[in-house]
């Protein structure tokens, strides 16, 4: 048995999540709740110095975003400002939660 159940995580999403709107390549709209996070990171890309940047991610319930795929767009309220992203990596954790790696547009 996992330490956290999907129900536990769903409660966290309800408390701390924001309402996001995804748009599929077929123009279908998907509304879901997700926790937005943009951790700062230093990213090495082969140069002498690193890039200083953010890593925007959405943590959401897998069943709510099953229609979304890499390349689809999602609008996220970031500090109350709607911000457009493209989904670049879909990362299901196998326990009902999916993390989406985002690219800022």
């Amino acid at each position: 048995m996992a330490v956290e159940t999907l129900d536990d995580r769903t409660l966290l999403l309800a408390d701390f999540g924001v309402s996001c709107t995804g748009t599929t390549s077929g123009n279908a709209t998907v509304t879901f709740t997700a926790i937005y996070d943009a951790q700062h990171a230093l990213e090495e890309a082969g140069g002498f110095v690193a890039f200083s940047l953010d890593q925007p991610r959405l943590t959401c319930v897998t069943s709510q975003v099953s229609a979304l795929a890499e390349g689809d767009t999602v609008t996220v309220p970031v500090n109350s400002v709607n911000t457009d992203y493209t989904i670049r990596v879909v990362m299901p954790d196998g326990t009902g939660i999916t993390e989406l790696a985002l690219e800022k547009q």
């Binding site: 990171a41 990213e43 890309a45 140069g47 002498f48 110095v49 890039f51 670049r88």
Partner: protein, 145 residues
């Protein structure tokens, strides 16, 4: 007076400052991370130097070969590869305007180019690395020329 190597590196930075796509984002031996407000940008480093002694009696003339690394940093949603290529073209054109580096050197040659990528952040990033050889003469015991 500073070392000829320092003056050549400073000449490279001056030459590469103000290019169309990078503007004032050209840095001499930058060691701090590149953040959004300085991108796209160029960093110049002198990484290696070799000397040859073509004459026998001191003070001998030194034939120096200075290797400079010019790094192009780009972060954007698409066409980042085209941007790195465009900035590289700007760099090659700028370097060619004075191969003597303001009279300090005999020749300047861009001898290699390679790249790396990453996509862990909010937008793809790419680094283009140009290796540039600067040939110059110095006299033994007089590194400041």
């Amino acid at each position: 007076m500073s070392h000829i190597r320092t003056r050549i590196r400073q000449n490279l930075v001056t030459t590469l400052t103000g290019l169309d796509n990078t503007g004032s984002n050209c840095f001499d031996t930058r060691v701090f991370p590149m953040h959004s407000s300085v991108l796209p940008g160029i960093c110049v480093y002198t990484v290696n130097e070799t000397s040859q002694y073509p004459s026998m009696r001191p003070p001998r003339t030194l034939q120096k070969r200075l290797s400079a690394r010019i790094e192009v940093y780009v972060k954007m949603t698409s066409t980042y590869d085209e941007m790195v290529d465009q900035i590289s073209a700007d760099i090659e054109e700028a370097l060619y305007t004075d191969l003597t580096r303001g009279g300090l050197a005999i020749d300047t040659r861009v001898i290699s180019f390679d790249t790396d990528f990453s996509a862990d952040g909010d937008q793809p990033v790419m680094v283009g690395r140009l290796t540039c050889e600067v040939h110059y003469l110095a006299v033994e015991g007089s590194p400041e020329g």
